[in-house]
Symmetry: D2
Subunit: 421 residues, 4 copies
């Protein structure tokens, strides 16, 4: 038992799966204190889209700290915040024709989600929210209420209110368009589902098992909500910032959500940062109505501003699409060649293999970890092997990881076959 195991609460999780004491990191690699290199197909649960400690961000951060740039300023004016806001406006919002005001919430995803829910309720004067099956939005009480996972929900210790879950795209199989139910519920004054302030949506459910909403489904959802005067909140915390290719995951569907939550890879360096974007007409906050001590952590503004250099042109988006195609192709080949009972899922560089026998996913992940590939499973049953490499991973590194996966899949299937024999 190391001293962390002795001193830290039993709530710790990932250290149980990845048995190494990590010390340094660079790009797609983590190094433990023995100097072993671990290839990272996990990317800090989506917080490291640009890899570990990307060089230009690191330099900006070191410069800022060295010159005693103000570190902590709550929501006072600061030069670093101004620089981030102006660049975010110029590089991200303007080119996409998006008009959003920016709110800096406490620097965690769940804080952004809580703020978004509060805002939607204030804008509409309604209390109810619709979430989706197998959603994941965070661990504080408001976010838990819109999260699907039963284990996490029970952790609340109280019952969770003012939310009704709706079936996500594909929840009832291919032949049922789940929006038929959502539409019926909104149209029917007798449905028992109170008219909602908003629907909160991940376009790709990452924790929920790499469940991907189709673009047509997303378009119909947006049109339906518009017709009913219900706000659309997109939680792009895990699959925004380029994870699916474009900066926002909803761009290809042509959506302009009323409210967007960003965090994780926004600072680009794993530094805590979160924002809520809202259409200007929804910016009805009173000053200080939602606050938080760390909503002005300037080092995060510095790295976040530096990270926007990745979006000055479409090179990264195109490169992500190219890599995504390669990963998908190799995973589908693997499915075809092994004939195993699993299905491919994904969009951009979040991809997964969903196993009918959930235990297989865990065994394959564990085998990968033995070979020093950091990879995890997703889905409430942990039945999905989830690939989440950084977007900036080199092609050779990507193939190195895919080779390990391929080897481990074959090993685990062989072992299972032998056990059954």
């Amino acid at each position: 038992m190391n001293s962390i195991e002795r001193l830290e609460s039993e709530v710790r999780g990932y250290c149980r799966d990845f048995p190494a004491m990590f010390d340094r990191a660079q790009g797609a690699w983590l190094y433990d204190e023995q100097g072993n290199a671990w290839l990272d197909f996990f990317a800090g649960a989506g917080a490291l889209n640009y890899g570990h400690n990307p060089a230009p961000l690191k330099q900006a951060l070191l410069d800022y700290l060295a010159r005693d740039g103000v570190a902590h300023s709550l929501d006072m004016f600061s030069v670093a915040k101004r620089e981030f806001l102006e660049r975010f406006q110029r590089v991200i919002l303007a080119p996409r024709g998006l008009e959003y005001k920016v709110q800096f919430t406490g620097p965690t995803g769940t804080n952004a989600v809580e703020a978004a829910l509060k805002l939607a309720r204030k804008v509409t004067g309604r209390e109810h929210i619709l979430s989706f099956t197998n959603s994941f939005h965070g661990m504080t009480l408001g976010s838990l209420a819109v999260t699907g996972n039963g284990f996490k929900r029970r952790g609340a210790g109280v019952s969770l209110h003012d939310v009704t879950p709706m079936p996500f795209d594909g929840y009832l199989g291919r032949d049922v368009n789940t929006l038929d139910y959502l539409e019926a519920v909104l149209d029917d004054e007798g449905s028992g589902v109170d008219k909602p302030a908003a629907v909160i949506l991940e376009t790709v459910q990452a924790e929920g098992g790499v469940n991907v909403a189709g673009f047509e489904w997303l378009k119909r959802l947006a049109a339906l909500l518009k017709r009913h005067g219900v706000l659309l909140i997109v939680d792009d915390i895990q699959v925004g910032c380029g994870r699916t290719g474009p900066f926002f995951s909803f761009e290809p569907a042509g959506l302009k959500p009323d409210i967007v939550c960003l965090s994780k890879s926004l600072s680009g360096y794993g530094v805590p940062l979160a924002v809520v974007l809202m259409k200007p007409e929804h910016d009805v906050w009173a000053p200080g109505e939602h606050n938080g001590t760390f909503r002005g952590h300037n080092p995060a503004f510095v790295t976040a501003a530096a990270a926007l250099q990745f979006w000055e042109n479409d090179a990264l988006a195109r490169d992500t699409a190219r890599k995504a195609g390669h990963v998908a192709s190799r995973l589908k080949d693997l499915l075809n060649h092994t004939g195993m009972a699993a299905a491919w899922r994904g969009r951009g560089l979040i991809q997964g293999l969903a196993f009918e026998d959930a235990a297989l996913a865990g065994r394959i992940a564990a085998a990968c970890v033995e070979r020093k590939l950091i990879i995890e499973t997703a889905g409430v049953q942990n039945d999905v092997l989830k690939l989440l490499p950084s977007l900036t991973i080199r092609d050779a590194e990507l193939d190195q990881g895919l080779d390990i996966i391929q080897t481990c899949v074959r090993d685990v299937l062989d072992r299972k076959a032998r056990a059954a024999a």
Copy 2:
């Protein structure tokens, strides 16, 4: 209108009070982009107990970043986390005879509070929580429910549940011991207040208006809760880490709370970090039952570990007591000499003047800001001028700030007298 005003949400607050674009900071000073120096009696709302960018922490941080120390590791094992945990155990917990397991929640105070409430509910199997009038615990739904401020509560947009507020020490004047009510309620099966899992307490309510709980009151509270099997959660986010002198604000009362929340000054550099401390017998979390992306932000572990050097001996605590005495003495002198209708409140280096005419507090703070002293008001009526200098402020700086306050108090009183004449 600067670009921040154009691009940031109307929710921004402090920038409306402190009209400067801050760029750099050091010790007790903030510098705006014109190079003006502002003296800081606000300390990042309590997050900067050791001043801005304290040199030893800065160097540790620069070194760590320069050598590509892993920045973001969720709750994997990391060398930086181990170093912090071991030092926290050695420097803080062991000498005080406190046995606590440490949980790293999302790095904001509200996240620590939410985790603490969940844990208390899980440990006891009960849902109800008792909070106190004029408490402040955070902006997410669970924390808002235990927060007193009506303006903040209404921001929730939904009704807040499973909590009953109790009167804080002094709430009904000096002649009423408010614990009589709390005791009656706990003893009486017919009170309508369901048996609580826990009481959540700030020993000094900072946002609530510098309301100080007496040590005898705290002792009786702890004994009462013990008798009823109700957990005591101390939210030491704002007044822990030495703000009142000792590391924990509850030390002089001899309390050993079941659960403690720390954040704000814990990292010592304004870097987001929060922990929940729990007695080992309460560490009933299942792995991953409460999580969060930024619960493993290693730069915060690095500065937090470095900050513990302030606690290797009792020099800082003694120095804080000395400075606190000086501030109290000057404030009380000011009260005596002006004869104004105000009362002194405070403990350690959180002190305030509570004005009968609430508007005076705001006018004095504004006058101070005009003289480039950063200071704010507190209390739901903004009737308390709150002094929150860093603990490491130099004596001369402290007097410089107190001089400004003295001048502004006299000016504002004079103006008022002239207006009344």
Copy 3:
């Protein structure tokens, strides 16, 4: 304006539809104070299955009152209660192979529903309940939470908790078996629908618009709940006591619900009475855990016991089936001959015509009332003309009412056609 309109609250409803001051009543007829006779196709919203003031019940009641039988006894032992319980056991439960304990709640349907929900939560230790779209269970807070109607729900003035509505049979059209969704939700730990204590069901939704659940659907629902250890509560308040033919509406589907609510026609005389039936293993109440002043109104026991004479053999059930066939046949003929855009719905002597143009239903009902036929509309849009005659109505009276409906349908359609021309 009569004095009732002056003195009674605006909440009054039916008196706005039926403009007469009623004085006496007998069988299928109401008489106003001018002596006009009104034919009743409404039956006190289902509380008068045996017609107004049925002779044998009236005599039993008069005898009991005349001899100073105890009127009010809370839940003390009383001869009248014993007589009812023994007869209910002998006539209703035993022949149907149903083992139920009987709880006398406050004498209203909503009180029975509240007790049933509390009991299901206590039995299972769970908080969540599943209800159905367009359900109706009552106006107190617990019952409202399981009721679909948005207008009624908003009347609560607070948000309603711990309930998720599920789509009733047919809610998504003929091609979708709505239990697929309920099954997915129960099977999926990530659905966001917390594991329920119980499902509460009307086999025929009366207020909701005469929505009829198919027997196969009911069987599958019961099996599904059994597999998951979720209790089935049947609210048979409106369609029990013979309304659909058999005493309990769920008999033909072979269901043995865990908990059953009865009220309305249970006393047989419009006297307030309600019971909860529960399987003996679910009788986990502590004495007095749910109570109510009027749970021992002995005149209701007397008429309820007398009413059971209708169930000593199957004559009433058979007669109801015969009359139901006749009504259905005449309504379907009317649909065929007029070709109007409406659909027939029903089971036993609760039948309705659902109009695509909701306004038509209201106009037809109003025209019937002008001809002194008491009839109402149902459904959240008031789009269903609902026929709810007493079960003991004479054939000639039934045809007299159906003739009026036929005439009014033709008149209203003609008027609409002329208006369109």
Copy 4:
């Protein structure tokens, strides 16, 4: 085990205390099926203020039933309802200068309370309600939320919301005016108690242990609420209809509550009936927004109208005061002569002896029951022997009961003394 014990749910309560099978009743007497006479100091928990089966009401009821008066009419106009409303207006409201609209809710107290809470929330647009410690308002979810008793509250099986209990008069001893806390909470935007729609109050808490609010306290409460625009709901279900002397319990304090709930003795015959009275400006109900099947049970209108004959003059009120004085005097004598550790409480003909040793109350009640005096204990600890005779009890009967109590008190005290010896 009799057949009721076999067939009725374990929830039954009073039959466990009063071991007789009751058959008939008249005035102050119950008769069991063996013909034994039981003297009633319980009066149907306050539902029989005029005694059992009072002759004039009985005759009116028999006449109405005999002539086939309409029994059940929901909220259609009926001659019987008109008669009641007009007489209630003439005999009760007009002479007292009270302008109220009358709502007929479902005929139980809890239904009236639920309607009152809904109305107060609609009128004010607020959700929160203040209740009092040791209150009792009913068993449905909304009423339970404003009820103090923990055993009853836990029966809900869910947590109860949107209510904060306040300390009732005397809750903190004689030296503390509990309205100081209520006033502080209403005045303080930071109290954490959301601004309430209403306060719900029993002027004498019956179930709670015969706790009597002083008239000065009531006046101050009413003034305080008026200043804050908070509605006052008086639940006069148990202590209205003359129980404390005047028709309404709040008359002597000069209150004109915004909303009043009546039930129990309103029908005068134990027939279920309940009303909500509201000031005309608060009658903002939409038609049918709160409904219920049995809100038009005409036999109750008939007996309730007949019962108003008791209020045509002040004879009953004066007689109640006289009897109350006699009971109080005998109880106080008993206290003085025995020197037992108990306190007298009461107003009008609801009086109690509160025992320091709670078990004594139960033993004395049981001893009385052995001597065929029906009497119960109250208070969450069952520490109060509660005297609740009908108002029309004869003087000799009253003394007969008091004699039994006196005997039993002495017996129980003697037994206790002997046991201790």
